[in-house]
């Protein structure tokens, strides 16, 4: 792996680790396509051609097929941290923007930092996979369980990963922290005995400018040693 371009390669552990690093979260999305194609967006009207031409009025229903046209502001239902919620979004609205700007109450734990899948501050778990919320369309999250950093604690009790972050001082300014917490949570849910190498790969898609990484590693390892939930 080059020191200069450190996008994680598929590591040697097993295929499941593909889901934990940046590579998986960087999966191609439709968003850029739409952004470049939509001069119509200037009029507030988006017809994402890639979704097909067939119109549908059952907008709140789960996506049955790709043959569906969405335009204007539409109401969708999402399952967010175990609770169903109806939101009004545009077809181009990212899942991140939907949660931060359109959910009620707004879920601002996932951060908007780069808006293009570079930094991991919006990492969340959708349908069991760790994804960048800024690279997902809200409408594509219909019918999937969306888990954000706000959903990790049980009542007032922080999760084991969250507690470990506090104990090991794994946040400074804290703006990247929710993303790291989600990446480590996903890693340890899938690999409860993760070693340092796997932990590093798991958060290789997350940037931190303050330099909390050494303490993030310590926090994750302490959960492994204490027995992650």
């Amino acid at each position: 792996m080059s020191g200069h371009d450190a996008r994680p390669e598929t590591d040697a552990h097993d295929s499941a680790s593909n889901e934990t690093g940046r590579a998986a979260r960087f999966a191609p999305s439709r968003r850029d396509l739409m952004r470049t194609s939509a001069s119509a967006a200037a009029a507030g009207l988006v017809v994402p051609a890639v979704l097909g031409a067939q119109s549908s009025s059952a907008l709140a229903a789960p996506v049955a097929s790709a043959a569906e046209t969405l335009s204007g502001e539409v109401e969708i239902e999402l399952s967010i941290n175990g609770a169903k919620q109806k939101l009004k979004v545009e077809p181009r609205t990212t899942l991140l923007d939907a949660l931060r700007n359109r959910a009620n109450p707004p879920l601002t734990g996932s951060k908007l930092v780069c808006d293009r899948g570079n930094c991991g501050a919006c990492s969340m778990i959708v349908g069991g996979k760790l994804v960048y919320g800024c690279l997902q369309l809200a409408v594509d999250a219909r019918g999937k369980d969306v888990r954000t950093v706000e959903g990790l604690q049980q009542g007032d009790e922080l999760s084991a990963v969250q507690r470990a972050f506090c104990e090991k001082d794994a946040s400074m300014c804290g703006f990247c922290t929710p993303g790291f917490v989600m990446a480590i949570t996903h890693c340890l849910e899938n690999h409860p005995k993760a070693d340092l190498e796997r932990i590093k790969a798991a958060c290789a898609g997350n940037l931190c400018r303050c330099g909390t990484q050494p303490h993030v590693f310590e926090a994750a390892l302490s959960v492994v040693q204490g027995g992650a939930k």
Partner: protein
């Protein structure tokens, strides 16, 4: 400390942020005996020790501390790990409009047409403001702002602005700026008046006479602060005579007045809020053009306006660390003493003058001369960035020192010690050398041959910073009848841990656990505080918190003395209880607080010179592995030893030192703003092209706090970013003989230095 060097903090925009650079006058010492826990032969024992009794607030002997100087969990950890911390980006107000900026895409332009007709027709359009109607003179200069009902609509509005322009002549780099016929960046010309130190002729003569001589040019690029939370503000005005303004800034008391002026409100009715802050590193002082645009839009709309820069905008208009071009020469004698030094340096600070610390940085030199001037270009002015001017000076100086040491065939560690009088650096250098395995390392007096595919090398560098404080902060401690305690001051927490020590200091003073005190910060409704820049916060704020806590304890002791049957001086606050020193009735904290009147107890504190100190030292060592086939550099280990005075929170301090090293790693290997020299476009305004260090690049990191330093608290966060860049570059050379005189040390430069590519 012998021959205390001046500890500069140059480069910050507001001189009042900087501390007076003298240690407080020594006070006559009175002592008293107290009981404390001490580890003897590995067993904790209660012993009687003698401590200073000055009759006023004192930090107390380290051995007696129960909260400070310990590994504390930061008090805002739980809200940060759960996403509940509300940053400026996260503020949501009823009826809030979303705003975006239109920036100049090139370095200098004349506006031919700026037409909002189509923009106004966009569904969701609310308002726009023209910020520049004629011409611009720096890449990224804001031209207009738009506000809309949603963030998506704001983007549509931005795209619908018809903006036509003609490029004006511009200069983008040092060489073209210095040409005689170069377009002039501003009225002051393209070069600032040089600042000169020493006599050139004498310095050159000393170098000429020296046994070993090196002349070389060192360059460092412009790099970015890259705060994860971009700059911006949420101006919450809905008509009426009052407003709340949230801003991502390092100065809570630095923007409410500007907002009030634009909103035409009394400043007293405008509250500034910096509850949580997503990184500043020197780039976030004041309201900024973006804040002013938000306020103007809010004023017109009578609605809250959210204007946070996009990542691309952030790169283009929100600050950078100036680059430098340093032509340096040095002479060394056979004992490793730097006998002569001369440097002519240019700073690349865009429209600003940039910053560069004095040369040859920290090292002493009998005959030194330097001439430093700024070369201006049509790029945004550099801003203060964590230790402004120091990493640049460190890179040139430490590189030259290594080159001279090799020329003389001397040990790199010993050469450094030979040029430093202050023994603190000697012990720090030796310690970090031991941590990375220097004394078992083969290449101590000459670099590796580079013949092996993988070569390991070690490099060193040192730092210093002022870190003293000054009078600014007003802290209030409140003790309520139910036992709750609040410590409040308007200061801000950039991620440094301010909020935690604002609670920890009164906890220590009142004999309470950290969890018993609530810290309130980040609002102009609270007591005054200075901005956080130049590592001045701790030494300015901590003494004021201590003073307030001490005043609270004195006042509470007065209330409790009759209940405990002793004098107020004999009331002991410890382990969540109060008792007379002689023993007798023991009250829990809650019981004691019940004796307070309904209004509880309030005490204030201000800065006390004797509760802070000034001048930190640090040393770092880096161990790297160079792949001589690919030019790839992997940092294996970084070690830092740092003095900080009394450490208020060891965990947060280690975090900050780690952070300095991580940022230095980026400076050494990865980071550089790239601007197209013909068109003036920034080619890497995003994190896929502007590369920050991430988890796979993080080496083993060792932080050693220099506990031999027995001084009062000192700000230290600038210091650890200084040496790492030079240490890594030196380690690369030590590994394989590839001397890279231009940061960042990318694989192509490594291969070129090895003679494998041209």
């Amino acid at each position: 400390m012998s021959a205390t060097p001046p500890f500069p903090g140059a480069g910050y925009p507001d001189a009042s942020l900087l501390a007076p650079a003298q240690d407080p006058a020594p006070k006559p010492k009175r002592t008293k005996k107290i009981k404390a826990t001490k580890v003897v032969d590995g067993i904790e024992q209660e012993v009687e020790i003698e401590v200073e009794d000055a009759g006023g607030p004192e930090w107390g002997a380290r051995e007696t501390l129960k909260v400070l100087d310990k590994e504390l969990q930061r008090v805002d950890g739980p809200v940060k790990v759960s996403g509940r911390a509300v940053y400026t980006h996260d503020v949501r107000a009823p009826g809030m409009a979303w705003a975006r900026l239109l920036l100049a895409p090139v370095a200098a332009l004349k506006i031919a047409r700026l037409d909002f007709a189509a923009c106004k027709a966009v569904k969701g359009y609310l308002a726009h403001e023209v910020l520049e109607a004629e011409e611009t003179r720096w890449l990224g200069q804001p031209i207009a702002a738009v506000a809309a009902e949603s963030s998506e609509a704001a983007e549509d509005c931005l795209r619908a602005i018809v903006f036509e322009w003609e490029a004006r002549p511009a200069v983008l780099d040092r060489e073209s700026a210095l040409k005689p016929d170069a377009p002039q960046v501003g009225r002051r010309g393209n070069q600032s008046k040089p600042s000169v130190r020493g006599e050139e002729a004498k310095a050159r003569a000393a170098i000429e006479a020296a046994q070993f001589k090196v002349s070389a040019t060192y360059t460092v690029p412009v790099v970015h602060h890259a705060c994860l939370e971009t700059h911006g503000a949420v101006v919450d005005w809905r008509g009426g005579d009052a407003a709340t303004v949230h801003c991502s800034t390092q100065v809570t008391f630095g923007f409410a007045g500007d907002a009030a002026k634009i909103l035409e409100l009394k400043q007293a009715n405008v509250v500034g809020v910096v509850e949580h802050m997503g990184g500043g590193f020197g780039s976030k002082f004041g309201f900024g053009i973006e804040g002013e645009a938000a306020a103007r839009l809010s004023k017109g709309l009578r609605r809250p306006v959210h204007l946070m820069l996009t990542r691309k905008d952030e790169f283009r208009m929100a600050g950078n660390r100036s680059g430098s071009h340093i032509e340096a020469s040095g002479g060394m004698d056979s004992a490793g003493v730097l006998v002569g030094f001369a440097a002519r340096a240019h700073k690349h600070g865009g429209l600003g003058d940039g910053s560069l610390s004095g040369l040859p940085y920290i090292y002493k030199c009998a005959e030194s001369w330097s001439e430093i001037s700024g070369v201006r270009t049509n790029l945004d002015a550099s801003r203060a960035m964590r230790a402004p001017g120091h990493p640049q000076a460190s890179f040139a100086t430490e590189s030259l020192l290594d080159e001279l040491a090799y020329a003389a065939g001397l040990d790199l560690l010993e050469v450094r010690k030979a040029n430093l009088d202050d023994k603190v650096w000697h012990r720090q250098l030796e310690r970090v050398a031991r941590e990375v395995g220097w004394f078992e390392h083969a290449n101590r007096t000459r670099p590796g041959s580079g013949k092996d595919e993988l070569c390991v090398g070690i490099g060193f560098a040192i730092s210093r910073w002022g870190g003293g404080g000054g009078p600014a902060c007003e802290v209030e401690i409140a003790i309520e009848r139910d036992g709750s305690v609040t410590s409040a001051v308007g200061s801000q927490d950039l991620g440094t841990g301010v909020r935690t020590y604002v609670a920890a200091i009164p906890a220590e003073e009142l004999g309470l656990p950290l969890s018993a005190v609530v810290a309130k910060i980040g609002s102009t409704r609270l007591g005054n505080a200075n901005g956080s820049g130049g590592s001045v916060t701790t030494a300015s704020l901590a003494p004021a918190v201590k003073h307030a806590a001490w005043n609270a304890r004195q006042a509470f002791a007065e209330v409790l003395a009759p209940l405990l049957g002793c004098t107020s001086a004999d009331v002991v606050f410890a382990d969540g209880h109060v008792q007379a020193a002689a023993g007798g009735r023991k009250l829990s904290w809650k019981q004691a607080c019940a004796a307070l009147p309904e209004a509880g107890l309030r005490a204030k504190g201000t800065w006390q010179a004797h509760l802070q100190a000034n001048g930190v030292h640090g040393a770092q060592a880096a161990k790297v592995e160079v792949d001589t086939l690919t030019g790839r550099v992997r940092v294996l280990h970084m070690a830092c030893m740092q003095d900080v005075g009394l450490c208020l929170n060891r965990a947060a301090t280690r975090s900050q030192i780690n952070g300095g090293m991580v940022q230095a790693l980026g400076y050494a290997l990865l980071e550089e703003r790239v601007v197209d020299p013909a068109l003036g476009l920034q080619l890497n305004p995003c994190f896929e092209d502007y590369k920050l260090p991430h988890s796979l690049e993080i080496p083993k990191m060792t932080v050693v706090l220099d506990d031999e330093d027995r001084r009062a608290p000192i700000g230290m966060s600038e210091a650890p970013i200084v040496p790492g860049g030079a240490a890594i570059a030196n380690a690369i050379h030590n590994a394989c003989g590839a001397r890279i005189r231009s940061l960042p040390c990318t694989p192509d430069k490594v291969l070129a230095a090895l003679g494998k590519v041209s």
